[in-house]
Amino acid sequence: MSEEMNKQQPIDAVEKPGTEAKPVAVKTVTSASAATKKTSTAKKTGASKSKTTTQKMAKSAAEAAAKTAESAKKALKIVAESKTVASIKSAVTETKNAAVAKIEEYSKGKSKIKKTTNAKNAKPKTVAKPKRTKKKNSGGIKYLGGMLLMKMARGGAMLLRSNAEEVNKLNVFPVPDGDTGDNMRMTIESGIAAIENMDSDNLAEVMRTLSHGMLLGARGNSGVILSQFFAGTAKGLEGKDQADPATFGHALEMGVKQAYASVMTPTEGTVLTVARESVEYAVSRVTPESTIRTLFADLVKEMHASLERTPEILAVLKEADVVDSGGAGLLYIMDGFNRVLNGEEIVDTSAAVSASAPAPAVSAVLFDAFGSDSEMTYGYCTELLVRLQSKKTDVHAFDVDALKVFLASIGDSVVAFQTDSIVKIHVHTFTPEKVLAHCREFGEFLTVKIENMSLQHTSQLEDAKPEPAEEKPESAPASKKYGVVAVCIGEGIEQLYREFGTDEIVQGGQTQNPSTNDFLDAFAKVPAEHIFVFPNNGNILMAAQQAAELYDKATIHVIPSKNIGTGYVALSTADFSEEDPEAIALGMTEAMKRVTAGYISPSIRDAEINGVQIKKGDTIGIVEKQIVVSETDRMAAACGLVKKIMEGDKFMLTVFRGKDADAAEQEALNAAISDICPDAEVYFMDGGQEIYPYIFVAE
């Protein structure tokens, strides 16, 4: 973002019906000049029409813009992965190029981005939002119907899709984990898939179908909450073929209620708060004059503000200097809804997005996928941001289509588009050097990313696609009383679970959260009257519970296991000869309460948490969501963790050895553990799990 743009006055879309600025076509917007033009137009119109309202709205919208910018900036800071993330300023400066690219990219999707050049700058300045899209005359909508809702939902999904990676980065702990952005994206996309072939203007019907698709596709806790929010809203719209602002606002309130009800102990400072506060605000602003647009404008505006407040409510966010990721995901979706209402077309940059960011730690883990004897099979995923240079080419007349033709001649999966003087390129090719050489003929690189897809391929296998909400295959008739479904990944772990009677394994774990639908599929394969489910991850629990609610062919008992270790402890002591399923479930749940589990994991970025300085690549030990140790040396981290979890009267330690831990290291670790707790019974299990070299369970 240029300084020049920074100096512009805050401005936002004019909300008063009939006062829209003239549409400006996307491709013709070249830079700040057009934006400036738009700014003055908007100001003029605002002044000439309803001064007070418009100015007030512009001001509040500007504030909202600032909030988004702040959120985006925080995301950027994480993206930056700068060695010293001491201040926003330095992070932004250090990663100026990346930031420019990100912001350009985001503003292409019409975001409002603030850049604080002076930390003490009290009045945030915002970028004038270039209006590049055609505006439909949708300003005076008094009633929301099904057709428009479908469009809005698609827009919301698209905007989140384009920004999912940013949401992913809003990560409290520097460990690989279930990515909120992807989870929420896949959740809403599952809803979108459900309405794909709908041709109905009945609001209730569309909302019901959309939310049902989301319920099934929900993954991760944020995805489940999101789907419940929509499901509640759908309930509130039941029997309504269209809704006025008051009705829709009321439905949203029901959505909030249901979202809260879906969480056993609702935590404030999360997506729940963001949804609640924004809906409360939007509803409070509804008057007889309100339109659907003003409702969503208020909603999104307060959502920005509320998201911005999340670190004030939730200390972990503040410490990690991020806003709540689930809240951010919801904001992108609702912002997408809002933009569609404003006649914007939301551009799908998803190909670029999905290819742009395999999480660093994941790629690190997957380096083995391309060894010294491997053949190049998949080529390189090549992604560039090129700044067109006027000395090399006519920036405004740049022919993207010709570039596409060239890229297609040396590769596939081509995506290329231009925003102002930046061209974003994505191509899969065996000869990335040719792409680089070609692109330098008309500009210089802002960013270059070339990734061996043999590695990426492996990670994409893990990247589950959202599934359309299909009819379930018929469940097998119950032929036994008890069955078990467990979520795990890793050969040894799966074997252990199977040996203790697990019928179906749902592939998944920390970085890959299965959907509600995945659970339903697994349940259908288990011919039992009662099925015990081990989600084995805090972020998978809610999808399992949601599936349990939806499934009616068997009684599902969700055993709230937080990791494969505690789940294993519970399962291994279960007595399935017991008549009472509740007693079995209770026994297993109680068994888990007696254990403390911890794990070590490589850190994927620098961080400072609980006063612990963490460097990227260090091994950190985590117990009950707390980082208890961080060491350069993995063995030292493991020992530190063992000391911690064996505190109290723990007498037994089970160690699940991960995929990348070898027997020699285990031997050494075993010896070290004997020194730490000489009287303890220690058992090593060959878990074969990804990411965590060791998972420890103390009993």
């Binding site: 252990l496 040996e499 203790f500 009677g501 402890v569 291994s572 002591t573 279960a574 007595d575 399935f576 000869s577 068994a591 007498f651 037994m652 089970t654 019974e681 058992y683 299990m685 009993e699």
Partner: protein, 288 residues
């Protein structure tokens, strides 16, 4: 009143000297390791040596007592002018008791005036031993052989026989336990707690995680099922794990103030099937 001798077999895991002191006769079962033809009785091999051999992978086999051996033992007693009350090793685990039954049948015709009463204790190890002790006490109180036999039979369904093993593999190998579905799979770190049911069979009751938990669970069973928790006679036997036996005794003392009367070895005859690390608790309960 005609005197009688209380007789048992070496599955009771009480020392020969103690049995002698109580005036109890006994017959040794035998065992051998499968790499040799040499047969031993519990008195022929030190338990430590025995368990070390097992830990080193040695597989021990046991042989039941045959009817002839019992017949000759019983005849000796009859020759002294005494009747016989045999309290034998569970018929659910060995054919030893059946041999005694055959011997008794055979001798009945030969010695119509003598009584050879046999009681299937449906117990083993010091549980059988505890029944022997209690019956001896009953005899001391003046019980006739019939009364003593009735008394012993009355104990059978009330004996609390709870134990844990370090590794279920020994019991499985000897075919002494048919594990339920719960006891298959990787049992690393998982300790079964078993009891002997009223048919004299070994039943895995619960599985717990870790040795310490299994020891506590044994104590829990006492707390739950002992007829009189603060008094009475409690025996413990162990397969070369005295420390654990002591720990169990300590828990019982702490909880109920009860002193464990005897802590004894699980001898080779039983140990061959239960393995090193077996820890067993015996008491008179309300039911099995």
């Amino acid at each position: 009143m005609k005197d009688y001798v209380i007789f048992t077999d070496s599955a009771c895991d009480l020392s020969p000297s103690l049995l002698k002191e109580w005036g109890v006769g006994y017959r040794n079962l035998s065992f051998r390791f499968n790499d040799s033809e040499t047969e031993y009785s519990n008195e022929d091999m030190d338990v430590k040596t025995f368990y070390d051999k097992m830990r080193a992978g040695g597989i021990a086999k046991t042989a039941a007592v045959n009817a002839d051996a019992f017949a000759s033992d019983f005849e000796k007693i009859i020759a002294e002018g005494k009747d016989v009350l045999y309290l034998g090793f569970s018929s659910g685990l060995s054919t030893t008791f059946n041999s005694a039954r055959i011997a008794a049948e055979q001798l009945k015709e030969k010695y119509p005036d003598s009584k050879i009463l046999i009681v299937d204790t449906l117990a083993a190890s010091a549980g059988q031993g505890l029944m022997v002790y209690l019956t001896v006490e009953e005899k001391k109180k003046g019980a006739t052989v019939e009364e003593a036999a009735e008394f012993a039979k009355g104990l059978v369904p009330r004996m609390g026989i709870w134990f844990t093993v370090d590794d279920l593999v020994y019991l499985k190998r000897g075919g002494r336990v048919s594990p339920t579905a719960a006891f298959v799979g990787n049992l690393l770190g998982i300790k079964p707690v078993l009891y002997m049911d009223d048919a004299g069979h070994l039943i895995p009751m619960v599985k717990v995680r870790g040795r310490k938990t299994s020891i506590t669970t044994l104590a829990d069973k006492y707390t739950e099922m002992a007829a009189t928790k603060e008094e009475g006679t409690v025996y413990i036997s162990h397969g070369d794990c005295l420390k654990d036996a002591q720990a169990l005794a300590d828990i019982l003392k702490e909880r109920h103030g009860i002193e464990v009367s005897i802590i004894t070895d699980v001898g080779p005859v039983i140990g061959a099937h239960s393995g090193p690390g077996t820890l067993a608790l015996f008491f008179v309960g309300t039911k099995r």
